[in-house]
């Protein structure tokens, strides 16, 4: 019989350790908290699924969830078309292209909390360029006072911060289209719109899928920028899920409910991304089947 060599396990061990310490152990700690009521470091009580039940019935959380969904959808609706448009306008080659790439990528290099600070100052009605200008024009603008203004400012900030990512991905996708497609389109007499509709957009499908998933996940977890800009206010107007969670865990030290909610949050993101991915995978295929049947 052939001797079985078990040494391969040794080679996997470093990875197992890394993953254990970076992901599995912290996650298990959260699972541990979620099923206990920790009264003090010495006293803890097992409570089963009680925290989960409580969190799921929490009206504040429901509000934060709907707010979050609306925000993420708004982000996608604005940033994806804008990113595509931007990438179509970017020069394709030469020093101009390099320059524009650097300029476009600039906002991606700024740390999150700095982005928040920039917009906080930008939106101030006394010294901020945006806030002061609007006030001069007679607009009653205040991101700290009006829920609508706070919303618009947070959304605008995210668009400013992250549209370049979509644009860069699309730019890379556009550069990967062989010249022959554009030549054939010129020969076929296709209009600029037809070139976009029948060549560029279909060829961008894969990068757009990545862009949508990234932007959805990221916006669904948004924390730092609105925290710095509005602190979740006015009222709860810009309190998104992460901020709600932090209030619970750090502000009120409700570790049990916070842990239960963390797990729900995690599963929610996983599920939504899965649905989104599945849906985008089928966008092209379905039509083929329809046409074949028709």
């Amino acid at each position: 019989m052939k001797p079985v060599n078990q040494r391969a396990w040794l080679l996997v061990l470093p990875v197992v350790c890394c993953v254990a310490f970076s992901a599995i152990l912290p996650l298990m700690t959260v699972v541990n908290y979620s099923v206990q009521d920790i009264i003090s470091p010495e006293r803890r009580v097992f409570v089963g699924t009680e925290w989960f039940a409580a969190v799921l019935r929490d009206a504040d959380l429901h509000a934060a969830l709907w707010r979050q969904l609306l925000f993420s959808l708004s982000v996608l609706v604005v940033e994806v078309p804008l990113g595509i448009l931007l990438s179509l306008c970017m020069p394709a080659s030469g020093w101009r292209s390099s320059l524009v790439l650097v300029l476009v990528a600039m906002s991606l290099l700024i740390p999150w909390n700095v982005v928040g600070t920039i917009w906080q100052i930008f939106g101030r009605t006394d010294i901020g360029l945006l806030g002061a200008t609007l006030t001069r024009l007679g607009v009653d603008y205040s991101y700290a006072g009006h829920a609508g203004d706070a919303w618009a400012t947070v959304l605008l900030m995210d668009v400013w911060h992250w549209t370049p990512l979509v644009a860069l991905l699309c730019f890379a996708g556009l550069r990967a289209i062989p010249d022959a497609y554009y030549q054939a389109a010129r020969i076929d007499g296709a209009s600029t719109f037809a070139v976009f509709r029948y060549i560029q957009l279909p060829k961008l499908r894969d990068v757009l899928m990545i862009a949508v998933l990234l932007r959805f996940m990221d916006s669904f977890m948004i924390y730092t920028e609105p925290f710095v800009l509005t602190g979740g206010g006015p009222g709860n107007a810009t309190t998104f899920l992460s901020q709600y969670l932090t209030q619970k865990a750090v502000g009120q030290f409700d570790l049990g409910p916070a842990a239960a909610f963390s797990l729900i949050y995690f599963l929610l993101i996983l599920m939504l991304c899965f649905i989104l991915y599945q849906w985008m995978q089928r966008v092209g295929q379905d039509r083929a089947v329809e046409q074949h049947d028709g």
Binding site: A180, I187, A194, H292
Partner: protein, 377 residues
């Protein structure tokens, strides 16, 4: 349909100075309306550049392009109304096959009924009728290329249809069939077809007139027979035929040719009365015309068989003529029905015959060069 006149040169870089800076050196060329032409040459010789200048995908850096005498140099491909098919299939992935074929017509606002009729005809011609409702992205490479061909042929009123090595990705079996289809379309519609290829068989079977190109210049224009029998340039002789024409350095001395250290008397040969050039020149002979003849036949050279190779329908002999530093290897084709000489056998090859060509500085001097219409590029 149009008569296409080129008087152009093209350089991709700015400020061309040397000949090498040009992808296409200055040339004048006319493609008559309704003709089937092939642009033949090795990779990088400027074939595709010339095609793109005609279609308008490229604007020449110097010179003009005329369609029926009208200067179209600045016009777009759409305005020139040309069709072009590329080396690799281009299909619109999200459209059905029928929509792909209809695309060039719809972009020009052709009536729906006419579009349907034309798409049906073209699909029939290219064997795509069964696939019309299918999505174009899920087809095989050769089906996709047939769609590309179809888009090129679907407009009836085009000035010309330009093909840029369109059959590269097609299976050999289907290649013959498609080439025949193209010829048939040419015969029926009398379109001007210009076909770029580096495959001589494709060029010779497709075109009435073949334009042979090398290093951005046109070296010869002619029918298949002309290119075969009287290559105007050693390059053409070498490039066309398989194996190509073979060249033997020679001088003429007192009624005999001296080559490979041998003296070959020419009295009694068909070329006896020719005026042979002074000094050294090159004899060009094709393997097909190197006949085995009895010893000491006038015009024949002595050689030793090195190798024989059975190619199925004929034998290919490799013969060494001469010895030492002046020895030359020649290939000869021998019909399969006679027993070929074995290796190391002594043979006599008829070098001087009706098909022999003579070159000085790579240019044909004997027999008198065919009408070099436009070939002087």
């Amino acid at each position: 349909m149009a008569r296409i006149e080129l008087a152009v040169s093209h350089a991709y870089g700015a400020n061309p100075v040397r000949d090498e800076d040009y992808a296409l050196r200055p040339l004048e060329l006319t493609f008559e309306h309704g003709g089937a032409y092939a642009l033949l040459g090795p990779s990088g010789c400027g074939k595709t550049t010339m095609l793109n200048l005609m279609s308008g995908l490229l604007t020449p850096s110097h010179g003009v392009v005329r369609f029926d005498g009208v200067d179209v140099t600045a016009q777009s491909p759409q305005a020139r109304n040309v069709a072009q098919v590329f080396q690799f299939p281009v299909v619109y992935d999200t459209m059905s096959v029928a929509d792909n074929l209809a695309f060039p017509l719809r972009n020009r606002g052709v009536a729906a009924a006419l579009v349907k009729q034309r798409v049906g005809q073209i699909a029939e011609l290219l064997d795509l009728s069964d696939a019309l409702d299918r999505r174009a992205s899920n087809l095989t490479a050769d089906a996709k290329q047939r769609i590309s061909l179809g888009r090129g042929l679907v407009r009836e009123d085009v000035s010309a249809v330009l093909f840029d090595e369109p059959l590269t990705v097609i299976d050999p079996q289907l290649k013959w069939q498609l080439r025949r289809t193209l010829k048939q379309i040419h015969a029926e519609l009398k379109l001007t077809l210009i076909y770029v290829t580096h495959d001589q068989v494709e060029a010779l079977t497709f075109a009435d007139q073949i334009v042979v190109m090398m290093h951005g210049t046109v070296v010869q224009i002619g029918s298949a027979a002309e290119l075969y029998e009287r290559p105007a340039h050693t390059f053409v002789g070498y490039f066309i035929g398989s194996p190509g024409m073979q060249f033997v350095p020679t001088v003429c001395e007192e009624g005999a040719l001296v080559l490979c250290g041998q003296r070959i008397p020419i009295s009694g040969t068909v070329l006896e009365q020719q005026r042979w050039p002074e000094g050294s020149f090159v004899l060009g002979v094709r393997p097909e015309y190197l006949a085995l003849v009895p010893a000491y036949t006038p015009g024949a050279a002595h050689g030793v068989v090195i190798h024989r190779h059975d190619v199925g329908t004929y034998w290919l002999l490799t013969v060494r003529v001469g010895t030492g530093s002046v020895a030359t290897m020649l290939c000869a084709r021998v019909a399969a029905d006679i027993a070929p000489p074995v290796a190391d056998a002594d043979v006599w090859l008829l070098l001087v015959g009706t098909h022999t060509c003579v070159y000085v500085n790579d240019r044909l001097v004997l027999p008198c060069a065919p009408d070099a219409n436009g070939a002087r590029a």
